[in-house]
């Protein structure tokens, strides 16, 4: 679920860069004020790779295919580090795979960044009390939020000449096709956190 080059208006692409830049600045500022900012760097590096490679995992959902996003997992596991991890991952995906685009890098950052932060805040607020429920909600909820941001951006940047009704119908079909992914990403976060709880509880993120 990446916005490609050439489809979005220039002003929206610039606004996307401004928004993502602001998000990155806030994240880096928060990271800087952490007690040990470098402690999460190894985890962020490895999860960036996982996020980068996840776009290759295509789940066939006729009539289309969907890709893993992992915004919820990154948010829960990395907190504020999720924003630079997502932006680096998106940049590498655009340059190496052609997923997304360089002009839409900012917009794609806004599609995945805020859902990751929402997952982080949800985990921090209620993760200790209801870890399983919150893990599923964080993973699934991040996909749902990302889908709605994506749809809103597509509708906002739609050319006048385009058949709006046909595009809206296609968007609804696209969002419905992501229902299995919503469930899958909730399950992924649940499994990862459960495995960590049993094998390496010191790695569990507790905000």
């Amino acid at each position: 679920m990446h916005l490609p080059d050439g489809l979005m208006p220039v002003e929206m692409a610039l606004a996307g860069y401004a928004g993502s830049g602001l998000l990155a600045a806030i994240s880096l500022s928060r990271i800087k004020h952490l007690p040990d900012p470098s402690a999460l760097v190894p985890r962020a590096a490895m999860l960036t790779t996982v996020f980068f490679a996840a776009s290759l995992v295509a789940i066939p959902v006729p009539p289309t295919t969907v890709h893993l996003m992992l915004a919820g997992l990154l948010g829960v596991m990395l907190g504020w580090f999720a924003i630079p991890a997502i932006l680096v991952g998106l940049f590498l995906q655009a340059v190496l795979f052609g997923h997304g685009g360089l002009t839409t890098l900012g917009l794609n950052g806004l599609i995945l960044g805020p859902p990751a932060l929402l997952a982080f805040w949800l985990w921090r607020a209620a993760g200790r009390r209801w870890p399983d429920v919150v893990a599923v909600c964080a993973g699934s909820g991040a996909v749902v939020v990302a889908l709605f941001i994506f749809a809103a951006l597509v509708l906002a940047g739609m050319p006048v000449a385009l058949d709006a009704r046909a595009e809206q119908t296609a968007l609804w079909a696209f969002m419905l096709a992501h229902v299995p992914l919503v469930l899958a990403e909730g399950l992924i976060v649940l499994v990862v956190l459960r495995v960590l709880r049993r094998t390496a509880p010191q790695l569990l993120p507790h905000g």
Binding site: P4, G6, T49, F52, A53, A161
Partner: protein
């Protein structure tokens, strides 16, 4: 020949002369000419066609205005015959926020098609993932090795 007979003959003659014109008003005419068409095939990177995706075409002389638009067929194919305007034609195929913008360089003699991108092979993708993973592993190990050590720049 009487005057009445002459008048009837003239009326018949007039009807015969004007009949083809009246018949033409209901006739269907077809003209055929050979034209060079552009055939597009839009598909996702997984190989699935962009069925019934919307196609928007921009001519080189006015890239801000839509020259033509249509809907691709179930196989993601679409054909159009461009005007005799040499230059860079832009074609956008999109569906649900996904799509591609391709450019066709049409010259005086023949069109030169510019494909938007070439799909990578799985081997290339695996190599790229391995390289990025290697970089991340290096970053992780570097960060771990520096932990606990005094900052050399201090």
């Amino acid at each position: 020949m009487s005057l009445r007979c002459r008048s009837a003959l003239l009326l018949c003659l007039a009807l015969v002369v004007s009949a083809p014109q009246m018949a033409l008003a209901h006739a269907a005419i077809m003209e055929a000419e050979v034209a060079q068409a552009i055939r597009l095939h839009a598909f996702y990177e997984t190989g699935e066609p962009m069925s019934q995706a919307q196609v928007i075409i921009y001519a080189p002389d006015d890239p801000a205005q839509v020259w033509g638009q249509g809907i691709a067929d179930m196989d993601g194919r679409y054909e159009f015959i461009p005007d005799a305007i040499a230059g860079r034609w832009s074609v956008q195929v999109r569906q649900a926020g996904h799509g591609v913008m391709a450019h066709l360089e049409i010259g005086a003699n023949a069109p030169v098609i510019t494909v938007s991108s070439t799909p990578d092979t799985w081997a290339q993708r695996a190599l790229m993932v391995a390289l990025v993973a290697w970089g991340a592993l290096g970053t992780a190990l570097y960060a771990r090795s520096r932990k606990g050590k005094p900052d050399a720049s201090a």
